[in-house]
């Protein structure tokens, strides 16, 4: 799996300087529905914020949008773990790396029957760039202060011109395309489209029953072939436990229910329980400017002190893979086993702390150095039940090696202020607990969060920053792979954050629902790479 991914990327990247059409057709066209018809009932938390692919950036919205809308290519943030063609059939890159020419798929129709053309792509990108629209994809289309330049060559050819070479542009352009004819102007903050979208994907919008569900129906003209299942209902049911009950009561066909009690589904002939890694990492982050944890040796000691497998078992019900990288397995250069695991060993941890100069000199059970006690303020979003479960385990582990821990669960508003606002280099905490993900295969997407001086870790490492810079400039795939492999090693060594585990999703679905060809893929929010290929066995 991982190998194919790398191979695909190598093919893509190898052809960068060659000015050749490189990508072939997106899907395997030989798929035919073994059975058609029926209604698939799925569930997600609550009402979406928006049904427009340009505004719906919260989980509730994205979940529905990924059934309906499509970008030019897959592999951007929220769009899976592989770069592959979607609305663009192929693309060429000029020798200087400054011009990308996309060959759009012909014969694609919008849900209302209008043809999809390069004008729609141009309209979408221009709308994203319009500041008044307040669309959070905007930084994707900016290079520094300069926007990328776009040009419609003909109905099915679209050019993107860069100001400087950028190897990450493909994933940056993976933004859901909206139809120009559905809008009266570029300003779309309050456009009717946001509640009644038209797109090109496998399912088209029918109705939104506030507080209850969104109903979609099969797009019979879908370019990958008409979906097997006629109708798809996304119900709003909050919490894995409530979704699990609805599954058991026969009111749901498919849902991700890790977090709920899964025993009723095990060895149950009526249901299939399937797991897949998600593009999500849970971690313990350091404020590396805090003098107590500014020494990497101390951070490594604190990592060795954590029984991370116990955290996975207790806090995540076992649904996690022990991390050995700050990147998830979706990142293209991820390689299991590249980095040596930090073993759980409290005695070793204590020894490591002592080697770094932290010993208990006054016999109060807390290690100290130069008269200062090792007392760490640990903040986290207190309303997030997962963090509530992780925090006391971190507390126990660290207390047992003589590190004082002050747990500080923050309410939502307070945590936005202290943790998530990303504007200050001064962080009011020593340690924060969090999770992140859906970055896709491109490691560059981690950059702002990982190595920005105002990021969660206030991590201002010039060497790593320079490497990320270089990663954008160079296009040779082997060199890129090597470069990011080095970044991976370096960050694992320097440890601005301790990655705990990569989340594993547990999907439960009716046993007569076949999703083999739909491909269960945890890096999509819906869990399905080709939702149109799910079908009910007759």
């Amino acid at each position: 799996m991982k190998r194919t991914l790398i191979a695909v990327l190598l093919i893509v990247l190898l052809s960068l300087p060659l000015t050749s059409a490189l990508a072939q057709d997106g899907g395997d066209d030989d798929f035919a529905c073994p059975n058609t018809g029926g209604t698939l009932v799925v569930a997600y938390g609550t009402d979406p914020r928006s049904l427009s692919g340009l505004y719906g950036n919260d989980g509730n919205s994205l979940f529905i949008i990924t059934f309906m809308a499509e970008p030019l290519l897959l592999g951007g943030e929220n769009w899976g773990d592989q770069i592959e063609p979607a609305l663009a059939e192929s693309w060429d890159i000029s020798e200087d790396g400054l011009e990308y020419t996309f060959h759009l798929r012909q014969g694609v129709k919008w849900h209302d029957g209008e043809p999809f053309t390069a004008e729609d792509v141009l309209f979408t990108y221009e709308a994203v760039l319009l500041e008044e629209n307040a669309i959070d994809w905007r930084p994707n289309l900016m290079q520094g202060d300069q926007p990328m330049q776009f040009e419609v060559v003909d109905d099915h050819t679209f050019k993107v011109r860069l100001n400087e070479p950028d190897a990450t542009v493909l994933t940056a352009l993976a933004i859901p395309i909206v139809p120009k004819h559905a809008f009266t102007s570029l300003e779309m903050l309050d456009a009717p489209y946001n509640t009644s979208p038209i797109a090109t994907g496998p399912y088209k919008f029918v109705e939104w029953n506030t507080g209850e569900n969104v109903v979609l129906e099969a797009n019979q003209d879908y370019w990958r072939g008409a979906p097997c299942i006629d109708r798809l209902v996304v119900r709003f049911i909050e919490g894995a436990a409530n979704q699990a009950n609805a599954l058991l009561a026969g009111e749901l066909d498919y849902a991700r229910v890790d977090g709920a009690d899964l025993t009723p589904f095990e060895n149950n002939p009526d249901f299939v329980l399937a797991t897949a890694p998600r593009d999500l990492m849970r971690y313990v982050g350091f404020n590396v400017r805090s003098p107590k944890v500014s020494d990497p040796a101390v951070r490594r000691a604190l990592a060795v002190a954590l029984d991370r497998q116990a955290i996975i078992d207790a806090a995540a019900g076992g649904y996690g893979t022990l991390a050995d990288s700050v990147f998830t397995s979706a990142a293209f250069m991820y390689e299991p086993g590249r980095n040596a695991q930090y073993p759980y060993d409290p005695a070793l941890a204590q020894q490591m702390l002592a080697d770094a100069g932290w010993t208990d000199t006054d016999g109060d059970g807390i290690v100290d150095k130069d008269g200062e006690k090792m007392s760490l303020r640990v903040v986290y979003l207190g309303t997030w039940s997962l963090m509530q479960a992780i925090a006391p385990l971190v507390y126990d582990n660290w207390r047992s090696i003589g590190v004082d821990v002050v747990l500080d669960p923050l309410d939502e508003a307070k945590s936005y202020e202290e943790i998530y606002d990303n504007v200050s280099e001064e962080k009011p905490y020593d340690v924060m607990l969090g999770g992140w993900g859906l970055f896709g295969p491109e490691p560059d997407h981690y950059r702002n969060y990982l190595v920005s001086p105002t990021g969660f870790f206030a991590y201002d490492n010039e060497e790593v920053q320079a490497m990320f810079e270089e990663g954008r400039r160079i296009s040779d795939p082997d060199a890129r792979y090597e470069l990011y492999a080095e970044v991976d090693r370096l960050l694992w060594e320097d440890l601005p954050m301790i990655p705990l585990y990569q989340a594993v999703g547990a999907w439960v679905y009716r046993s007569d629902l076949n999703i083999d060809a739909a491909e269960l893929n945890g890096t999509f929010l819906t869990g399905l790479k080709y939702p149109g290929r799910a079908y009910f066995e007759g």
Binding site: T39, V41, T46, D47, P48, R49, S50, N57, D58, E131, E132, A134, D136, R138, P139, L189, D190, N194, T195, N209, T210, G211, E212, N213, V215, V233, R235, F236, I237, E238, G239, N242, N245, A246, L248, A249, G250, E251, L280, L381, W384, E412, A413, K414, S415, Y416, E417, I419, Y420, D421, N422, G434, G435, W436, G437, L438, N448, Y449, G455, F456
Partner: protein, 322 residues
């Protein structure tokens, strides 16, 4: 009487304005604003984008400007747009209000129909085994947490027996019309309505019991009995009517909950009601929605109290508003 009503309604206007001022102030003082809720806690978000959102929501104006503009627009009947969904607040509320009225009204009705007879029987058969049994049940009903009862009922009636739906308000697989649609909604409503009415039924039956007991000890009951009236007539004509006064107050006070909804019950049963809307709005600092929901419930509280006052006149002719 009509004089009194007009007077009371006029009084409500400054009261509502004062409430709106307070609620607006509280939302303003609470940490965080609607724009920060656009931040993705999984990743953090570009501060510049947050600034854009803030500008687009008009959050950069001073608080008094926003309050006055909210107040004048509200008087014109315009409740503005939800910050979260950018849809009109009137739309958001009108989509959910009927669902909540339906569920809340039904559970209120269940409570009245069950609680009053139970209370009366308990009072009449005071210290009997039946009284002890009903008292114990009432105590249990008041004490058990709502969510636990809800999960138990779902486990029993939806999952094990498969008799009743566990979630939502309508079947999504079939599209029913006419009577079938009514029946469908009714089936979905049974479990949440029972859960919602449980604690209310339990406590009202206790009130009814003690109210009736108190009345039965009054001199006029003894007089009625001394006149040789049949016990049934004593009860229906003299005792019950008087014993209703405290219950009417209670019912009047609980009317607002029919409108504001019940967050926990709505969440467990995925009922598309006002409770979830209100809590989502508060979490998202979505003040146009918060204001609409609180103003609506304030209005209903005022009306509920007024209705209770009118009902007094009917149950107790001694009370007059002249």
């Amino acid at each position: 009487m009509s004089h009194y009503l007009v007077h009371r309604l006029l009084q409500a206007i400054p009261l509502l304005i004062a409430i709106s001022f307070l609620v607006f102030g509280i939302v303003e003082i609470a940490p965080g604003d609607a724009a920060q809720m656009y931040i993705d806690p999984d990743k953090g978000t570009d501060p510049e984008y947050i600034a854009q959102v803030r500008e687009s929501l008009g959050l950069n104006d001073p608080v008094y400007v926003r309050y006055v503009s909210w107040l004048t627009k509200t008087f014109e009947g315009d409740f503005g747009f939800s910050f979260r969904t950018r849809r009109p607040v009137t739309f958001e509320v009108s989509e959910r209000l009927p669902n909540t009225l339906l569920l809340g009204g039904t559970s209120l009705l269940i409570s009245v129909v069950i609680a009053l007879p139970i209370g009366i029987i308990s009072a009449l058969k005071r210290y009997s085994i039946l009284d002890y049994l009903l008292s114990t049940l009432a105590l249990v009903g008041i004490s058990v947490p709502v969510f636990w009862v809800a999960l138990l009922l779902i486990q029993a009636f939806s999952i094990q027996l498969g008799w009743l739906p566990a979630s939502g308000m309508r079947s999504v697989r079939e599209q029913y019309e006419g009577w079938a649609a009514v029946k469908d909604v009714a089936e979905h409503m049974i479990l949440p309505a029972i859960v919602l009415s449980l604690a209310q039924t339990a406590s009202w039956s206790r009130y009814q019991r003690s109210a009736l007991l108190e009345v039965l000890g009054q001199d006029y009951i003894r007089t009625a009995r001394a006149k040789g009236l049949h016990e049934f007539r004593v009860l229906t004509r003299h005792a019950l009517r008087n014993a209703l006064i405290p219950i009417v107050t209670l019912i009047g006070l609980s009317v607002p909950s029919i409108v504001t909804g019940a967050f926990i019950t709505e969440t467990i049963f995925s009922w598309p009601g006002m409770g979830r809307l209100g809590v989502d709005a508060i979490n998202g600092r979505d003040y146009p929605v918060i204001m609409a929901v609180t103003m609506l419930s304030s209005l209903v509280i005022i009306i509920g109290n007024l209705l209770a006052d009118i009902a007094y006149v009917w149950v107790d002719p001694r009370i007059r508003y002249d």
